[in-house]
Amino acid sequence: MKKDIILAGVGGQGILSVAAVIGLAALDYGLEIKQSEVHGMSQRGGAVISHLRISDGIIHSDLIPEGEADMILSVEPMEALRYLSFLKQDGWLISNTKPFVNVPDYPPVEKLLEEINSVPNSLTIDADGIAKRLKSPRSTNIVIVGSASPYLGIPIENIENGIRQIFGRKGEDVVNLNISALHAGREIALQEKQ
C-alpha cells in the first residue's frame, strides 16, 4: 500500500495541520510516513506545498516524483491547480472552494473550479461553509481531511485517533467538534461518489 499526497495552500492556512492529522492517522494504522514541509520565507502568505508519503514499505525519496501523486489535497482552489503536474492519471484532485485572494491578478474563481472539475477524479468542497454550519469555523482543514478520507486507504477510526492526538490537549469539546467536521467532509465525498 502506498499513497503519495501533495498538500497545497497559502502560508498561514495550516496545511501542516492537515499533514499532521493524516500522518498521525497513518502511523496509528501501522504505516510508515515521510513528510516534507516548507519553512521560512514562503510561509508569509505565499504558496506552500507539503509532500506526504504513506506506505507499508520503505519510503525512499522525501519528495514525490512529478506525475506520481495519488492525491492533491488543497485548502485553496488556485493552489490546488499549481501542482497539477504531480498528479497521476487517475489521481484525486480535492480542493476547498473558498479562494484566498491576496494578489491583484487572482483569476476568477469559476474558472479555477471549472479547471479542477475537468480532472476526472476531482472533488470541490465548501469546507469553510460546512465548518461554519457546524459552528466550528476553525475546523475547515479537518473538513478537507474528511473529504479526502475515503481515498486515503486509512480506516476512519485511525483518522479520528489522529485528531484526538492533535487536539486532545485542548479538551474533549474541541476533539468532538473536529471529529464532526471530519465526518461532515467525509459525507460529502461519499455522496459525490454515488
Binding site: 514541509e37 516524483p65 506525475g67 494578489v103
Partner: protein
C-alpha cells in the same frame, strides 16, 4: 530503544542531546532553525543543565562553542549555509587549534534558494578547513551521524562538520533512538598552548592537522556511510551524495539499482572507493545535491567528456536542488506527467503580514523618498526584504546580514544624497552595530532606519539579541542622542513618521530612526499564551 517522528533538523538536535552535549549555539536561519528549537523544547533544557540560548550571530555562536569544547565539554553549532560565511574565521581556525571536548558544526544548505540569497555548498568549507564532513541521506543517518560526529571529533581532536540540505532538514520520518550518553566532565586542555595560534604554535598545530588527513581519509574509506553497492549493468556507475541516494532508489521501484552505486556520506572523499567504481564501469553519473563537488574532484584537470557525467556536462542541471524527476531524466528514464497547471494561475509570492509595522514604515518612507528620487534605500535580510516587491518597491539592496548600513555609508561616501539604510533589530545586533560604528566615526550623512519588532521574525519569531536596548546601543556606538529618534509604525502615526524621516534625511550627518512595534506574529502568539494561562 525508542522511535520518534522527527524532522531531519530535529534528528540532529536529538542526536546532539543523546551525545551528551553541554551546549548548543546558533543563530536562526532557514533551513537550520529547528535544530536549536528542538533542543530548547527538550527535557534536558527544562532541567537547566544545558546551554541553549540563541547567539547574536553565527560567529559568536561558533566561538562560544569552541570555548565550551576548550573546557572539555561537547558542543554543537548550527547555522544556515551563509551563516558559515559569518562564522568562517573561527571555523577555519578551529581546525588549527583542534578541540578538547567534541565540537560539531552543523550547516544546512539551501539549494534552489527557497529562503536564501545563494546556494553555496558547505562541503567546500569542510575541504577548505580540512576537517571531516558527514552528509546524511535520511533522518536516521542524521541522528546516528550526529552522535558519531562527536566521537570522531574527540578521537582526532578535530572539529567535525555535518552538512544537510533543505529537503532533509524539513522532512519528517521515524527515527530509532539509542541510549543517551552522559555529558563530559569539565576538563581543561592538556596543552595550555593548544589554543594560542601565535605563528610559532600555529605552524605546529597546522602540521598536526595535516598529519590527521590520512586518518580522516581512512575513516572515510572504512565508513559505513560510504558504501559500494554492486550492480550487474556496468555501462553506468552512479555516485550519490546525501539525499540524492533516495531519489535514485525512488526511480528504481524495486529499491535497488541495476547499476553499481557508490553512496557517499562521509568526507574527505574515499579515493579507493572512487577508483573502484571508476575502474569497474564504462561511465559515471554523479548525483549530488549542491555544487558539483565530487564531480569536479573526479574530473581533475582532464575534462573526461565521455566517462564522467553530472552537472558540469549538463546531464544534471547546473544549479538548483535535485528531485526524483531530474534523477530519472539523467538516467534516461523520464517520468511522464499527465497534467499541467493552467497558464492563467497567478503567482503568489510571500508578503508582509496584514497589520505588520513594516508596512506602515514603508508607506511613510515611500512618501518621503518620492521627493528625493529613486534607488537610494539600502536594505538587509529579514521579513522587511519583502519591501522590495510590489506594492512597496521601497528598497534597492539585500546582500548579507548588516550590509544595509555599510553600503549606505559607501554610497554616501561616493556622493549619494540622501542615503538611507533599512535594517531589522536582529540583523542590526547580528552584524549592523560594527557598521554603525564606522558611520558614527565619520558622522556619515546616512539615515539608518531600524525596524525594531523585538523578534527574529522571518525564522519564526525567536527573541532578538537587542533585548530592548537598540537606542542605548546606537548612542553607545556614538550616534548623537538628538539624532536617535523613535517612531511607532502605525497608520495613525503616518504624518509624524514622514516628518521625522524627512528631518533626519535633511540633517547632514548620521542619524538613526527606530521604528518600534512588536512583530504581529509574536504579538498574536503571546496573547494566545496569556489567554491559556488565565
Amino acid at each position: 530503544m525508542s522511535k520518534a517522528l522527527l524532522l531531519g533538523d530535529e534528528a540532529i538536535g536529538q542526536g546532539a542531546l543523546d551525545a551528551g552535549i553541554s551546549g548548543i549555539y546558533a543563530y536562526p536561519g532557514t533551513p537550520s532553525t529547528e535544530i536549536m528549537e528542538y533542543v530548547q523544547k527538550s527535557k534536558r533544557a527544562k532541567e537547566n543543565n544545558l546551554h541553549c540560548k540563541w547567539s547574536a550571530n553565527e560567529k559568536t555562536a561558533m566561538e562560544a562553542a569552541l570555548g565550551m569544547s576548550y573546557a572539555g565539554k561537547r558542543a554543537i553549532v548550527c547555522m544556515k549555509h551563509v551563516g558559515l560565511n559569518v562564522a568562517a574565521d573561527p571555523f577555519m581556525n578551529s581546525a588549527i587549534t583542534g578541540v578538547n571536548g567534541g565540537l560539531v558544526i552543523t550547516v544546512a544548505d539551501d539549494p534552489s534558494m527557497h529562503s536564501s540569497q545563494n546556494e553555496q555548498d558547505s562541503r567546500y568549507y569542510g575541504k577548505f578547513a580540512q576537517i571531516p564532513v558527514l552528509e546524511p541521506s535520511n533522518q536516521q543517518e542524521a541522528y546516528d551521524m550526529t552522535r558519531e560526529a562527536f566521537a570522531l571529533s574527540e578521537k582526532y581532536g578535530s572539529p567535525v562538520s555535518i552538512r544537510i540540505t533543505t529537503r532533509l532538514a524539513h522532512s519528517r520520518f521515524g527515527v530509532n533512538l539509542s541510549e543517551p550518553e552522559p555529558p563530559n566532565d569539565l576538563r581543561l586542555p592538556g596543552d595550555p598552548k593548544q589554543f594560542v595560534l601565535l605563528p610559532s604554535i600555529a605552524k605546529k598545530r597546522y602540521k598536526i592537522l595535516l598529519r590527521s588527513q590520512d586518518h580522516f581519509e581512512d575513516e572515510a574509506e572504512n565508513s559505513k556511510y560510504n558504501k559500494f553497492i554492486d550492480g550487474n549493468d556496468k555501462r553506468v556507475g552512479i555516485i550519490t551524495t546525501g539525499i540524492a541516494f533516495n531519489y535514485l532508489m525512488e526511480i528504481f521501484h524495486e529499491g535497488f539499482s541495476p547499476h553499481p552505486v557508490l553512496k557517499i556520506g562521509q568526507y574527505p572523499l574515499p579515493k579507493k572507493l572512487l577508483n573502484k567504481i571508476f575502474n569497474e564501469t564504462q561511465s559515471l553519473l554523479v548525483l549530488e545535491e549542491g555544487y558539483p563537488f565530487v564531480e569536479e574532484y573526479l574530473r581533475g584537470v582532464i575534462f573526461n567528456e565521455n566517462k564522467i557525467h553530472g552537472r558540469l556536462d549538463g546531464t544534471v542541471p547546473r544549479d538548483g536542488e535535485l528531485n526524483p524527476n531530474i534523477v530519472a531524466k539523467a538516467l534516461g528514464k523520464e517520468i511522464s506527467t499527465n497534467y499541467s497547471p493552467p497558464e492563467f494561475l497567478a503567482n503568489r509570492p510571500p508578503e508582509l503580514c496584514p497589520g505588520c509595522g513594516h508596512r506602515d514604515l514603508y508607506d511613510a518612507l515611500n512618501d518621503v523618498m518620492k521627493d528625493y528620487g529613486p534607488q537610494r534605500v539600502f536594505s538587509d535580510i529579514g521579513c522587511y526584504t519583502l519591501g522590495a516587491l510590489p506594492p512597496y518597491n521601497a528598497i534597492n539592496s539585500c546582500v548579507d546580514m548588516g550590509a544595509s548600513i555599510t553600503m549606505a555609508k559607501g554610497a554616501a561616501d561616493a556622493g549619494v544624497r540622501p542615503s538611507v539604510a533599512v535594517i531589522g533589530d536582529s540583523t542590526f545586533t547580528h552584524s549592523g552595530m560594527t557598521g554603525l560604528l564606522d558611520a558614527a566615526n565619520e558622522n556619515s550623512p546616512v539615515t539608518v532606519i531600524i525596524l525594531d519588532n523585538a523578534a527574529v521574525a522571518m525564522t519564526g519569531g525567536q527573541p532578538s539579541a537587542g533585548e530592548g536596548r537598540i537606542e542605548q546601543i546606537c548612542i553607545g556606538v556614538g550616534v548623537k542622542p538628538e539624532h536617535v529618534r523613535t517612531v511607532i509604525p502605525l497608520p495613525k502615526n503616518h504624518d509624524e513618521m514622514v516628518r521625522v524621516i524627512k528631518e533626519e534625511i535633511e540633517y547632514d550627518g548620521l542619524s538613526v530612526i527606530i521604528a518600534q512595534r512588536e512583530c504581529i506574529q509574536t504579538l498574536v502568539a503571546r496573547k494566545k499564551r496569556m489567554r491559556k494561562k488565565k
